[in-house]
């Protein structure tokens, strides 16, 4: 053909061991290759989700507001004992739950990414990692809308966020990395044993009560206190929240270690995905 020499693709069984860094490089290449697909599938799901709904785009705001309302009600009824704080409780809960939701929705969407796109995996040669991560576009989008929502809540309380607000999305990156890492492992394991991902997502739901999401970290409960202090999620959620509201990092060391852990999980997740992905398609 007249085209410039085209690339030659090779499909063969994996013969030698590859390093995690090689996996990451491959992931990077393949995600770049499938950027078009990721974008098209994101717009597809986005548009398809909103068509045929009365409230249309308003849903993006309605869902988080309903979430806050339930915790505010629990607090108002005195069921919750969130601890002493100098922030309005709804604002505190909103930041906490939106960061927590970033983690759970990332895990759920990436963890289900292979099965949800099994038809495309079986019928097209789009890189598997690309298809697994397509759901992430929607998660990130919702999160960013949540950030705008957050600014509106600040405005409503006439509180000005600290300058850290400018890099708030960057501060939540470790959470995203952790979620993607766990999700990738769940995605490949889930193709063999389908009940693993739902189990992990439910366990994660329990873990929320061992993390200062809807209450503060200086809890007086002697049982929960050490658990919370040892929980890396504590630092990943507490740090962005307290930085944007007060500009203080409660535990710089905790945040650093937890972030390193989060990115290590991401690296491990990508590596695990690449080691196993050849065995995946035939089990979908």
């Amino acid at each position: 053909m007249s085209n410039p020499p085209q690339s030659v693709r090779i499909y063969s069984p994996r013969r030698k061991l590859q390093t995690p860094f090689r996996s990451v490089a491959m992931a990077w290449d393949e995600i770049y290759l499938s950027r078009n697909v990721i974008w098209q599938l994101f717009t597809r799901d986005f548009i398809a989700n909103l068509r045929q709904k009365i409230f249309g785009y308003l849903w993006i705001f309605i869902t988080p507001l309903l979430g806050i309302a339930s915790f505010v009600f629990l607090n108002y009824a005195g069921v919750l004992n969130p601890g002493v704080m100098d922030l309005p409780y709804p604002l505190f809960v909103y930041i906490g739950t939106s960061l927590w939701a970033l983690l759970t929705t990332t895990v759920a969407s990436v963890g289900n990414g292979l099965i949800a796109n099994s038809d495309l995996i079986i019928r097209t040669n789009t890189p598997k990692i690309g298809l697994t991560l397509t759901g992430l576009a929607g998660v990130v989008y919702n999160y960013l809308v949540g950030v705008i929502m957050l600014l509106l809540i600040f405005l409503a309380y006439r509180i000005s966020p600290s300058p850290w607000m400018l890099i708030y999305p960057l501060l939540s990156l470790p959470i995203l990395a952790l979620g993607v890492g766990i999700g990738l492992v769940l995605a490949v394991v889930g193709t063999v044993a389908r009940d693993v991902a739902p189990i992990v997502v439910s366990v994660l739901g329990l873990l929320m009560y061992a993390t200062p999401v809807v209450f503060t970290s200086d809890l007086s409960n002697p049982v929960l206190r050490p658990i919370i202090a040892a929980n890396p999620l504590t630092y990943l959620i507490d740090t962005p929240r307290s930085l944007v509201t007060s500009g203080i990092i409660p535990s710089p060391m905790g945040f650093c270690l937890s972030s390193i852990l989060a990115f290590a999980v991401l690296l491990l997740g990508i590596h695990a995905f690449y080691l196993v992905q050849d065995k995946v398609a035939e089990r979908l």
Binding site: M1, Q6, V8, P13, R44, D119, R123, T124, L275
Partner: protein, 444 residues
């Protein structure tokens, strides 16, 4: 890979587990091995595994097309998925040059809520096209799919024909370097099908390498230069399209032969009745008054007199049968009839018609032989039935439906491709003469 070669498949194999439970177990095991970085032994079968594709090798150059035939479950689709990079081979490797469009992906990723036009972009991106490339192609695609008025309608309101037409148009018009097709040419009405064939042949002329998997000999014959016949994952025939179609159809006939065997008795290569006692009634397959019964029917190869169920085209056959006459008979009529796959009683062999008069047959055991010289059955699977009656009595003394099955194989000297439903071959001579070089009416 040398230039001009589009696909190089070298000893490609792929195995699968038979049961879900087993594949789950092996899946977990393999994954753990892979996690730990241990080599997985791919070239050995474990209990409960089978080779879906075994040691398949071929080379396909630019502008060539390869037809792959095989009965259901022979491994064609698995091979196509390996070629499309969906499954990694367990052994061997595949090299593919350029952009691959798979027509197994026709309509992949279509979102029912979105319009045809929006879906062109989604499906196109799944085929590896950029947005700009799709922008350039979108009008041609809409034009080719003949969906102009409906292109902004959500695709869930499309008919299945419209759906596939759109999917086909996207894949075919994307001008891939390699086109993988799985049984997709039977799309739309006749005119659209013709358009698809024309377009595929044009792609081929322009250098696209094509692999077509199909059960339709006609499609393979018109598109492909060569073929593979696959059976149980292995390439049995790698050669001309004609050879591949012959092998495929013979395999089909054999399967038709053995497929019914399951529902019947254990062995239908020879019909036999175990006991001599026979109650006089009408059964489903066998019945009659029972005054005469046929104990066994079998086919012998015309010359070597070996028991035989597969005959070459026009090979002579010998039917041999054992009869028990329990009461003396006058004017006995012995008759065989032949059923084809889709038609009953396509031929009859009657003792009286063929010149054997049986005015009186005393009690005894008899051997009946019927030699059929150069039968004109076309390749396929057939069933032999038997009936015994007399001229004076209006009921069957004995009948036996589906007594023996036999298969007629494709000839090597000629290629009988035209219609697999046809059952008889009539030797004939064709001539074509030119009467005039002009068509008179077309002048006006």
């Amino acid at each position: 890979m040398e230039s001009g070669v589009s696909i190089l498949a070298d000893n490609v194999s792929k195995k699968f587990g038979l049961s879900l439970r087993q594949s789950l177990k092996y899946g977990l095991k393999d994954m753990t091995q892979a996690f730990l970085g241990r080599p997985v032994h791919n070239n050995l079968l474990r209990v409960g595994e089978f080779w879906a594709v075994r040691d398949v090798s071929f080379v396909l150059r630019e502008g060539e097309s390869l037809g792959i035939m095989g009965v259901n479950g022979s491994g064609k689709s698995t091979l196509l998925r390996i070629l499309n990079g969906v499954y990694a081979p367990d052994t061997g490797d595949i090299r593919i040059r350029g952009r691959v469009a798979a027509l197994i992906a026709a309509g992949a990723g279509f979102a029912p809520m979105l319009s045809g036009r929006e879906n062109i972009y989604i499906n196109g991106s799944l085929l590896g096209l950029t947005r700009r490339e799709i922008d350039r192609l979108v009008d041609n695609i809409i034009d080719f799919s003949e969906l102009e008025q409906f292109i902004d309608l959500p695709v869930r309101n499309y008919s299945s024909g419209m759906f596939v037409r759109l999917g086909f148009a996207i894949a075919a018009l994307s001008r891939p370097d390699v086109l993988l097709m799985d049984e997709v040419l039977a799309v739309g009405d006749l005119n659209f099908q013709k358009k698809c064939f024309d377009h595929i042949l044009r792609l081929k002329r322009e250098g696209t390498a094509i692999i077509l998997v199909s059960h339709s000999p006609g499609a393979i014959w018109s598109v492909c230069d060569r073929g593979l016949f696959i059976d149980h994952g292995e390439v049995r025939v790698d050669g001309t399209v004609e050879d591949v179609i012959r092998s495929y159809e013979d395999q089909n006939s054999r399967n038709a032969f053995s497929g019914n065997r399951l529902s019947d008795r254990d062995d239908l290569s020879e019909g036999s009745i175990q006991t001599d006692s026979f109650s006089s009634n009408y059964g489903h397959e066998r019945g009659g008054t029972g005054e005469v019964i046929c104990r066994s029917i079998r086919f012998l190869n015309g010359f070597q007199s070996d028991r035989c169920t597969e005959f070459d085209f026009k090979e002579s056959m010998l039917i041999e049968s054992e009869l028990v006459v329990k009461a003396p008979q006058e004017n006995l009529l012995l008759r065989f009839t032949v059923d084809a796959m889709h038609y009953r009683f396509i031929a009859t062999l009657d003792s009286l018609e063929q010149g054997l008069e049986l005015p009186f047959i005393p009690v005894g055991v008899y051997r009946l032989q019927v030699r059929v010289r150069s039968p004109n059955f076309r390749p396929g699977a057939y069933v032999l039935n038997m009936g015994i009656s007399t001229k004076s009595v209006g009921v069957h003394l004995f009948y036996w439906f589906g007594a023996v099955r036999f298969v007629v194989m494709h000839p090597h000297s000629s290629f009988l491709y035209s219609d697999s439903n046809a059952v008889m071959h009539l030797d004939s001579e064709f001539t074509l003469q030119e009467l005039s070089a002009m068509i008179p009416d077309q002048v006006s």
